[in-house]
């Protein structure tokens, strides 16, 4: 562990914050934070940006294909970054369709968002959808970073009522799934994320102290694992499955604790933690995105997902001058006023994605490239148009160069029911994940993305 004193994470600083909303001084240096000893080039980071309620497609999809397309209104904030972005149209997520299960397209679309698997319709007792692609990437990098993956969002969960037409709220609140039945719960507090990123990184701790601490934590986990295993033999069938969830969590934590000493700290500078969740929604979103940049830059994780809202979120966007709530507006019924409202919301959403692109570009890697060059950033929604709830021709953006393999700066039009899962296969293969099928319908890489 470095004894660099600039990593000063005094709890008091943020507990005491005296009402200061989140400023972002924790990206003090934009120089690379880590050199990668094992491989010559930086690893490819993966990020997914989920927005709820679909997109007003008429102002999203460029009319021309290729590299000289005119930027539609919703994509206007991408103008400085068009060389770094692929607009992909014509991709379908067939597993999210009803297939006899009736309504619930938001829940299905959200749970299939990164899994490309058809979820079991349930109120919650037997969740089943499929592992998500970010988790497969996290498996690939497992043990190399402090955190396997980071799941973030800006909407927790209401504490009353149901979520969508007989689907468990787990399906509308999570896009990341560790296994078919285990959603990866997300963090919604910037302070909490920050704590988690730097937990146990004490600059004053000697290596011996770090090792002892790790040994103690492992010994506690050994104890409780034995408790759970012994108990499994004495409880009912369903209780055994519940304890299995617990055991999975314990195993994950062990891997994480191992990584604390196996991948010792770096020169990352973090001078001040976030204090509280900003009331201003844009600042809130951007503070979460800043934490993604921080985590990538410091190589604390290489995989992150972000949910701007939960599936069918009814957030009000009054701060954009839009009256009405998002889900309600998305049922626009062709009303031009609602189209305009959706265009405003969607334009702002893409601008947040552009903000992330911009921040990643500012971070230099050791070889002179920037962090965006070594990232793959996905942007999409659980449905295409919010009124028709379709899962075909989804709004998809892919930013970053994935280590140079992706040929960006184009609008690529697919035709003939091309599965979204094939995009994910392509992303995973680019990262180096050994996978040739994904989800319910992913079988081929999308050659059009590559040189």
């Amino acid at each position: 562990m470095s004894t660099n004193k600039t990593l000063s994470l005094h709890r008091r600083n943020f507990l005491r914050g005296a009402g200061a909303t989140l400023a972002l001084p924790f990206l003090e240096s934009l120089r690379p934070a880590k050199t990668y000893a094992q491989s010559a080039s930086a690893p490819t980071r993966m990020f997914a940006f989920y927005v709820p309620n679909g997109i007003h497609m008429a102002d999203f999809t460029p009319t021309q294909a290729g590299s000289t397309y005119a930027l539609p209104a919703i994509l206007s904030s991408l103008a400085p970054h068009r060389a770094d972005v692929l607009v992909l149209s014509g991709l379908d997520n067939e597993p999210a369709t009803a297939q006899g299960d009736g309504n619930g397209d938001h829940a299905r679309g959200t749970s299939a968002f990164l899994t490309c698997a058809h979820p079991v319709k349930t109120e919650g007792a037997n969740l089943f959808v499929g592992p998500s692609m970010d988790q497969l990437v996290a498996d690939h990098y497992s043990g190399q970073t402090r955190l396997r993956s980071l799941e973030l969002g800006c909407e927790g969960g209401g504490s009353t009522g149901g979520c969508d037409s007989g689907y468990s709220c787990a399906y509308t609140r999570n896009i990341s799934w560790r296994t078919a039945s285990t959603p990866m719960a997300k963090e919604i507090s910037p302070r909490s994320v920050f704590d988690r990123l730097f937990a146990g990184m004490s600059p004053d701790e000697t290596l011996a102290q770090t090792r002892r601490r790790r040994l103690y934590r492992q010994s506690i986990l050994d104890y409780v694992r034995e408790d759970a295993t012994t108990l499994q033999a004495r409880v009912g069938l369903r209780d055994r499955q519940k304890l299995e969830e617990y055991l999975t969590g314990v195993r994950e934590l062990e891997i994480r604790i191992d990584a604390l000493t196996e991948a010792p700290g770096n020169q990352c500078r973090a001078t001040e933690a976030p204090t509280e969740t900003p009331a201003d929604f844009e600042r809130y979103v951007q503070s979460m995105l800043d934490l993604v940049v921080l985590a990538f830059r410091c190589d604390l994780t290489r995989v992150a997902t972000f949910m701007l809202g939960n599936g069918s979120s009814n957030r009000s966007f009054g701060f954009l001058g839009v009256s009405g709530s998002h889900h309600e507006l998305s049922h626009h019924q062709g009303d031009p006023a609602k189209h305009a409202a959706l265009r405003t919301i969607n334009t702002w959403e893409v601008a947040q994605f552009a903000y992330l692109i911009e921040r990643l570009k500012q971070v230099e890697e050791t070889d002179g490239s920037n962090l965006l060059d070594h990232s793959l950033l996905l942007f999409s929604s659980e449905v295409a148009d919010g009124n028709s709830h379709g899962h075909a021709n989804l709004p998809v953006l892919l930013a970053g160069h994935g280590g140079g393999e992706i040929v960006s700066g184009r609008h690529v039009q697919f035709s003939g029911n091309v599965p979204l899962a094939n995009l994910y296969l392509s992303m995973m293969q680019t990262i180096g994940v050994d996978v040739d099928r994904f989800g319910d319908d992913g079988t081929n890489r999308l050659n059009a993305l590559f040189a």
């Binding site: 008091r12 507990l15 005491r16 309504n103 397209d105 919650g124 007792a125 799941e151 927790g156 209401g158 504490s159 009353t160 009522g161 037409s165 468990s168 709220c169 787990a170 609140r173 560790r178 959603p183 990866m184 719960a185 997300k186 963090e187 507090s189 909490s192 937990a199 040994l215 103690y216 010994s219 506690i220 104890y223 034995e226 408790d227 108990l231 004495r234 409880v235 009912g236 069938l237 369903r238 209780d239 519940k242 969830e245 617990y246 999975t248 969590g249 934590l253 009814n314 009000s316 009256s323 009405g324 709530s325 309600e328 049922h331 626009h332 019924q333 006023a337 609602k338 009124n387 709830h389």
Partner: protein, 737 residues
């Protein structure tokens, strides 16, 4: 169990036209392998009640006794109460209790349990991921999942808890040692760090929260000095919440100690060190108070003799044999944390942590810390384990007294059993019905049963959701957190009165009282003088504010950010109060969009989409319930018209009975026997943390009958629940819930 309306509301239309609703009343037979009709055997517990009316495994044909039907049979239309007699008492077969999946502690339960276990109210679960909920509640075992993130949060919380417990208790064992609270570590709003202390640079105070281990006299010592300026020396007060305990003149300019003897009640206490005579001038300088720490010493002669149950470190590891002392500590703590006696083998395993620490050169307290963390991170603490039946026990067994104590305390307290309940479990007396009921009544009266109000009522009546409501502030500029909090409080206070009094729960729907503070009274337009504190107000028959459905919380949560949603209101009345789940809209019309036609009233716009017969079948039942409440806007304020459109709040209840306005609707609702049935279902679901389904029908019927007999008092409902087999017994688990 929701009354699932088969396929579409066309069934509904049939029912409201006079159908006997056999689809609802007679659940399909359960698969024989899931619910064999076996007699209950309860080897340890009291004999099972013979009152269970029906075996769920019997066929539907066997059950078509008219009086079995909670909806149409046995109950005279229009009477205020369903038939109080238990229609199904045949004495021939008993119904089987459910087999709930083990429940992990949810966020509220975790915080409450830690508070009652250690005396430290830390609220650490705030940072845990949101709890999953199903069947309307967030305490359903089968639905609550454990994500890797949660395990990580648990581990981190457990370390914080144990660190704080040790910091608090270490000094108590040795009463001569003082507890030292560092000023710079306190949550102070004024000043900044200086000289290893805290500089109060203008008038203000530093809070020193503490937990007094016993009632008695303590010596408080404050280490402080002053930046002297102006004519007077620095003045410092030691205060509690209400009064000044001691005043000091701080004439020194280097650290000195200022002492006072004070009397404290056992439990949390807030002490404050205040700077009271700030002074500043460009000429004469700046007067400040600098505080290093506050220390507290117990002055009781017999300190250590009478330890509270919440004290964790109960002996001195430095003077006693550490293994003996650690055993004392672990046995006491694990018994309470795991809510059952622990075996000496379990303690032996914990003692191994002392060796692990010793091998690293650390002292015994480090080993104890690891053991305490393991106790709290163990599934024995985080889950409420009820072991599976042995083969000898067959398929049903009575809960043991500790399991029963936990069910009771998590039902009412959302927390662990208190000392008295533990004692009743330890001597086995809790298995006696009269002891069980006495404990129930004692706990209802205890203020900790507020947890039931917050959790159950907050979820059943939706008042908890008001905290998370998204509202368009352009549309509702009056909306803020204070108003939301007031709304949540109103429903809680009203519900609490029903819990502690003998009123019929059906009066919830037209109660002649409510509680308001000044903010809420203004929002409601109630005449009179009100203050920040809560006032109980009587409502006459003409008042529109009678009943929980006219509470701001319910009305706001069932609205959209910019306007009311009669459909949502109607749907939630059906689901929450009548336990009727309308089927989702037919494919293709999900969340049926509401027309924007500014020339029509909201109601007219809805009438338009009801032209479609497919939609109409449900909406003719659902919408009138919501339209009846149209005089309340999207944040529950009264309005005479809707943006210039007259409001028509009349309609047909269930497509049959005319009501003129929401008051008449609430009267009809109150008379509907489905309401009492639904309250029973919701309460039992919450009490045992298990989604009630058709199999559990007989348990509902039996409890509802007792509920009715007592005049629908909440106390009678609870008594019937805790006496029921569903609550006191468990069945062998099958693979599906």
């Amino acid at each position: 169990m929701q009354q699932k309306l088969a396929w579409t509301c066309l069934v509904w239309s049939g029912w409201v036209g006079g159908c006997t609703l056999t689809d609802i009343a007679n659940p399909p037979p359960s698969p024989p392998d899931v619910a064999p009709a076996l007699p209950i055997r309860s080897p340890d517990g009291p004999p099972s009640s013979p009152a269970g009316p029906r075996a769920p495994g019997s066929t539907a044909d066997d059950e078509t006794q008219p009086n079995d039907d909670p909806v149409s049979g046995g109950t005279e239309e229009g009477t205020t109460r369903p038939d109080g007699t238990d229609p199904g008492v045949t004495g021939e077969v008993s119904c089987l209790p459910p087999s709930p999946t083990t429940r992990r502690l949810n966020r509220m339960e975790f915080d409450h349990t830690i508070r009652d276990l250690t005396g430290l109210d830390l609220g650490l679960a705030r940072d845990f991921p949101a709890d999953d909920f199903g069947y309307g509640f967030d305490n359903i075992g089968a639905v609550l999942t454990v994500s890797p993130l949660l395990v990580e949060k648990w581990e981190s919380a457990v370390e914080t808890i144990v660190d704080q417990v040790i910091a608090r208790d270490q000094n108590l064992v040795d009463p001569a040692a003082a507890t030292i609270l560092q000023a710079e570590e306190m949550a102070t709003s004024i000043g900044g760090p200086i000289d290893e202390g805290w500089n109060l640079w203008s008038d203000g105070e530093i809070p020193f929260p503490w937990n007094a281990p016993r009632t008695g006299r303590y010596r408080v010592a404050i280490r402080a000095y002053g930046h002297q300026a102006g004519p007077d020396p620095v003045a410092m007060d030691l205060r509690n919440d209400t009064e000044v305990l001691a005043s000091f003149v701080v004439e020194e300019s280097t650290y000195q100690t200022f002492e006072a003897e004070i009397f404290l009640e056992q439990g949390p206490v807030a002490l404050f060190v205040a700077f009271t005579n700030d002074f500043f001038s460009d000429v004469d300088g700046d007067r400040n108070l600098i505080v290093d720490h506050l220390s507290i010493t117990d002055l009781a002669d017999d300190a250590g003799a009478d330890l509270s149950a919440q004290q964790v470190i109960r002996c001195d590891l430095t003077t006693q044999d550490p293994a003996v002392c650690a055993r004392t500590i672990f046995t006491h703590f694990a018994t309470r944390a795991w809510r059952r006696p622990v075996s000496s083998a379990e303690i032996d395993r914990l003692l191994a942590f002392l060796d692990i620490a010793a091998a690293e050169g650390d002292d015994a307290i480090t080993g104890v810390k690891l053991g305490l963390m393991a106790i709290l991170l163990s599934p024995h603490f985080l889950y409420r384990i009820e072991e599976e039946l042995s083969d000898a026990e067959g398929d049903v067994r009575a809960l043991n007294p500790y399991e029963l104590a936990s069910r009771l305390s998590y039902f009412l307290y959302a927390s662990m059993p208190d000392d008295e309940l533990f004692a009743a479990a330890a001597d086995g007396s809790l298995l006696q019905e009269e002891v069980l009921i006495a404990q129930l009544n004692r706990m209802i009266a205890d203020e900790k049963s507020q947890a039931f109000v917050d959790s159950f009522a907050g979820q059943w009546l939706f008042s908890r959701g008001v905290r998370d409501a998204f509202l368009d502030l352009n549309r509702y500029p009056e909306w803020d957190d204070a108003l939301a909090a007031a709304m949540e409080m109103e429903t809680a206070l009203v519900f609490q009165e029903f819990l502690r009094s003998d009123r019929s729960m059906l009066d919830l729907f037209d109660a002649d009282f409510t509680y308001v503070n000044d903010r809420l009274a203004e929002h409601y337009g109630l005449p009179g003088d009100f203050s920040e504190s809560w006032t109980r107000v009587l409502l006459d028959e003409q008042s529109p504010r009678r009943g929980v459905l006219t509470h701001g919380a319910f009305l706001t949560v069932t609205s959209l950010p910019t306007r009311t949603s009669p459909v949502k209101r109607g749907k939630l009345i059906l689901e929450q109060l009548l336990c009727i789940a309308p089927p989702p809209p037919p494919p293709g019309v999900e969340g049926l969009p509401e027309e924007v036609d500014p020339t029509a009233s909201l109601r007219e716009r809805f009438e338009q989409h009801r032209q479609d017969p497919v939609c109409a079948s449900c909406h003719t039942v659902m919408d009138p319930l919501g339209f009846a409440l149209e005089h309340f806007d999207g944040v529950g304020a009264w309005r005479d018209d809707d943006h210039g459109f007259a409001i028509d709040s009349s309609g047909l209840y269930m497509g049959v009975t005319h009501f003129e306005d929401h008051r008449e609707l609430l009267g009809l609702l109150k008379q509907d026997p489905l309401v009492a049935d639904c309250i029973t279902q919701k309460s039992l679901t919450y009490a045992i943390g298990h989604g009630i389904d058709d199999e559990d029908r007989c348990a509902i019927d039996s409890i509802r009958a007792d509920f009715a007999d007592g005049g629908y008092r909440m106390r009678d409902l609870f008594t019937a629940i805790v006496q029921s087999d569903a609550f006191r017994q468990k069945r062998r688990q099958t693979s599906t819930p």
